[in-house]
Symmetry: D2
Subunit: 261 residues, 4 copies
Amino acid sequence: MNYSDTLTIANKPFSSRLFVGTGKFGSSKLMKDAIIASESQLATVALKRVNPDEKSEDIHSSLLTTGVNLLPNTSGVRTAKEAIFAAQLAREALQTNWIKLEIHPDPKYLLPDPIETLLAAKELVKLGFVVMPYIHADPVLCKRLEEVGCQCVMPLGSPIGSNKGLKTIDFLEIIIEQSNVPVIVDAGIGSPSHAAKAMEMGADAVLVNTAIAVAGDPVTMAKAFKLSVESGRMAYNSQLASEQTYATASSPLTCFLEEEL
Amino acid sequence: MNYSDTLTIANKPFSSRLFVGTGKFGSSKLMKDAIIASESQLATVALKRVNPDEKSEDIHSSLLTTGVNLLPNTSGVRTAKEAIFAAQLAREALQTNWIKLEIHPDPKYLLPDPIETLLAAKELVKLGFVVMPYIHADPVLCKRLEEVGCQCVMPLGSPIGSNKGLKTIDFLEIIIEQSNVPVIVDAGIGSPSHAAKAMEMGADAVLVNTAIAVAGDPVTMAKAFKLSVESGRMAYNSQLASEQTYATASSPLTCFLEEEL
Amino acid sequence: MNYSDTLTIANKPFSSRLFVGTGKFGSSKLMKDAIIASESQLATVALKRVNPDEKSEDIHSSLLTTGVNLLPNTSGVRTAKEAIFAAQLAREALQTNWIKLEIHPDPKYLLPDPIETLLAAKELVKLGFVVMPYIHADPVLCKRLEEVGCQCVMPLGSPIGSNKGLKTIDFLEIIIEQSNVPVIVDAGIGSPSHAAKAMEMGADAVLVNTAIAVAGDPVTMAKAFKLSVESGRMAYNSQLASEQTYATASSPLTCFLEEEL
Amino acid sequence: MNYSDTLTIANKPFSSRLFVGTGKFGSSKLMKDAIIASESQLATVALKRVNPDEKSEDIHSSLLTTGVNLLPNTSGVRTAKEAIFAAQLAREALQTNWIKLEIHPDPKYLLPDPIETLLAAKELVKLGFVVMPYIHADPVLCKRLEEVGCQCVMPLGSPIGSNKGLKTIDFLEIIIEQSNVPVIVDAGIGSPSHAAKAMEMGADAVLVNTAIAVAGDPVTMAKAFKLSVESGRMAYNSQLASEQTYATASSPLTCFLEEEL
């Protein structure tokens, strides 16, 4: 059996189902090494870091040498209008029409705004963007984003940077069941077991940033996430055994002593 | 940094931290192929299957060609006395003094008996066995088994064959914190994410049987478990980020629009 | 200390923090008896059941004799436009400007639509309604509903009728922390312990329907919910002890034997 | 329907299913008031506090005026031998042959020793005691304690004083299913919702100490626990609705608009 199944978003194939972020790393070198170790093919990057007029340009160039595709995000905006403006700046700066749409007016938990996100998504699709919206794990909202032309949906597992894992698991299940576009679990994934679980459930990919960037050893942690995402996908494809209420011996030797004695 | 850390039990080194069971597979061939795919170095086997007088001898020989070490278990016994007898039979049949001690009088959930297990462990250690006891996730019992000379402890995650995962997680944490011998989580692990979680917590190894044997594709599932165990161990070694109550942006671009506009 | 704290919504005081639904009961009599046993002061009712032109009018009258306030809901609508129309019909039929706003286009999980709900809420507030919106446990959406003038927010615990309890607990916590209007946990509460937990967290009230209506004995179950809601509120008011990692003996008699012997 | 079902232990009837502890209260008066508010009929007390030669005798007398039955515990002992000695001292001091058997050699988590507990239980039953053993939530151990004549079993929810709730829930379910003597969930219950959940599952009673004693307002918290235990028992008796995967509208008004418009 061949499980090298490919993820496709907007006609672009990905052999890796681990997407990564570029924030919070201790140094540019660490970030670059971790991304290489992750074997990810898509890395989100905040607009500021790729601003051609700033020193952070180095990061941009540095990332490009790894061969990873850059996915600009609109982090920091609070309204649809700001998001659309940011997306246009990003398209110009990075020469890509892909955009990770993040609109979070809330400064404490950075939770996304469903209304502004749908508004912005609709407009950005019209403007020719490949829109990847970061949103609450709200199944109805996911369907609406799909209907306006988003190329995937990116529901959260738990608040950004919290490392709490899949606190929305009951709703992620419904989203995965109902979606016609790829479902990428974004935000809150704090350990490889969280990532594996998302993939076992049938998520198409996961995005991890904080858990890699602030680990004791980010490079090894990146590799750990790579393995866990592959593992979870394999498990999904090879059909997990179901939960059982009663035990069944894996060593069904219930009577050997009677026979022997 | 080198994370190829080796697990040692009774002076025997293991590079793989995934132990496997041999029950419930659809065929001997499937079992053999799955064990090879798992890259496990230790496979439990019920005494009956290695009885020299039965046809099941084939299974024994078949397993030996894979290079995996065989760990006979006492599955099916209900008392310390029966367990000691079974261990002696196993030693003779398999030419090994390693024994996985399982005493479960309960036919419905196959849960282990703490009293008989401690009694048998004490005696088997005196008889020169390397004793690996399967027990409830009871931290006090684990210490007592360590004190009588067990070479590891094997607390359960959930009932055998239930695939429910780490339902004893709060007590596994205490066991791992307090143990001076390797802690191997046994029973109940139903998916790679469960195995990864156990390893992230600092378990020294996991034993998986049902989840591989009854998967849709046991060979690929075995490989998935291999990757998840490696992933979890790497994550443990490279220090997981802690959980946070409040969010911290991984893309700290909170003000770019003000600057730009 | 006096904990008879009163909940106020739109200047109307409630001494009971348990709201109930009227659907799914085996008979009108059972519904009426259960509502009386619950001591609830607010019962939701679907528009159809109070339609003056139908026989179901009996239910309406029957309910009124219990003294409970009726809260019409817009269940069955799929858009803001339909919801506004339904609310107006309900106002006329029931002579109340209170409306529970439910817009769920999804027939399988009956999950609410965030966009249409906000649209309808805004309009209904303008039309003079006391708007109580049923929504996903989305903290940003809750703030927006509060901003447009909703008198409370009603985030879900889990899908309607699922009895799964507080699957959104991490987000309910944030909603309760941030809200300036009462937070009423609605949908999914399947047992008194779920209701007690919601109240312990600081929810202002809970709405329960299915778990009472389809219980073996709905009248006793209604009473059980009444007690659990009171219990949870008392616990919230009297400050729960925090979780501890290590044990502390409640019977600190660590040395008595040394002294005695 | 009459749900005033009585719990019977060793032929003694209890109308309250909430047992309480007497440790950790800020003052004797607070303890006494909380016990009165709890309406409990059984309070555990450490031997030292009832020592006739000490000033703490006051506590003993004070408790007796409330009408609560005192249940001496062996807290502080580390072996069966010490426990038996402590039980005999308690019998003499308190003129009761009831004993709560606690043997916890572990000073950090105060977890009970299964081996010493079974040994002591066996002996104490022979000596005419009504033995109520505090133990890990180990179903096989519970059966063995029942077999040697214990009048109930008292499995833990989580470590004493941790307030973490029912972390052993999967095993409590099995214990409740299999037990022929009352099952009293002891240790770890940190809030009324935990107590309600234990009762909903079919536990016969719960024992609460820390969560009441260290609450902001112990007297009100005691009352909250009283209500939650009653609520949980009622729910158990009136048959909880089962969990559902898909939603079912409680307000099945799916088509009213079509009809109306």
